[in-house]
Symmetry: C2
Subunit: 197 residues, 2 copies
């Protein structure tokens, strides 16, 4: 049995820490707030904060890891035999359903991201991960090459269109974002069924 | 009459300088080449190089300013009475027509951009400029709000889809990029005419 550690930190409410950090970034500007400032504000020591969030970027993009997990689960649940483009689009939209109490911090996160090149670059890597997950699903289910023009373009249009719709929602939207993203994607994307399989 | 300056530099072939810089970035890595290295390689002094290109980013993104100029001209030439979405899409594709001798350096530029967060961030600002030009054209010609969901989403889908198509072309495409971008946009974008004006 391991000896009990002295001074072990209490359970950390990671989502609460991220929410506080986002509020500080909005109030003071992303580049003007340090990890030390955040640790001080939430009453954690620096090392504990870094155990949960390796960077300020992760504090802002925190919600995206859960969205990726939801997307993987949604895609795994798609029955065989359905149109993979249509199924991927529906699964992607469902992965953007946030709890009501997270809406305001989600909006603040998106506004922050739009205002910072560093945050956008961090997010671009995340978008490429999501695009790759979707492209792989479509390629596997549709028996196509993951790097074919159609699979590459449709997966990119879905993810980049979704990001654009979230940004529009953050500026102008009311209510939850998923419904708005669905509406926006219907406006821009060619329906999958118009093309032969 | 002003006195003749001594040691006045000869006319500079800006496009040739950019081409050399892109080749150096590809060979040695973008972050490993300095403006001084480039000045030395092309036989210019540092100040002269900076007069033409304020940063390494500008050396890579050099072609984009001309594409923006072509886009503005194409849009100005669109006759009244045509569908503004369709006209914007056609004008955007025409703005991507490069001279044959620029194809290889265009491809290298795009590969570099994909490999560097700093270059991508620099390019995102350029894409937003292009998107804004297109959204303003559609809003003016279609009597709509430039920030409406439809205008914002369609202009973003066009520009981001075009960028994705150029990136696909840089990796896999043969021949000139404009035709590939046109084909890719036909795959992903809902035709404008399916929606009421």
């Amino acid at each position: 049995m391991e000896p009990k550690r002295i001074g072990r930190p209490p359970e950390v409410d990671a989502e609460g820490v991220a929410r506080t950090a986002v509020r500080m970034f909005v109030e003071r500007g992303f580049s003007n707030v340090t990890m030390d400032d955040i640790a001080h504000e939430v009453g954690l020591n620096r090392r504990t904060l870094f155990r949960y969030f390796r960077s300020k970027n992760e504090l802002v993009w925190g919600g995206s890891a859960e969205a990726v997990t939801r997307l993987r689960r949604e895609l795994a649940d798609v029955p065989t035999g359905v149109d993979p483009f249509r199924a991927a689009q529906a699964a992607y939209v469902r992965s953007l359903v946030f709890p009501d109490e997270a809406l305001e911090v989600t909006r603040q996160r998106l506004v922050l991201i739009a205002s910072s090149d560093a945050l956008s670059a961090f997010g671009a890597a995340n978008q490429e991960l999501v695009r790759r997950i979707i492209a792989t699903f479509i390629a596997d289910r549709g028996d196509r090459d993951v790097d074919s023009l159609e699979v590459a373009m449709r997966s990119a249009a879905l993810v980049h269109g979704g990001h654009d719709a979230l940004m529009w929602w953050a500026r102008f939207g009311a209510g939850p974002p998923a419904a708005l993203v669905e509406q926006a994607l219907r406006i821009i994307l060619a329906p999958p069924s118009v093309r032969p399989a």
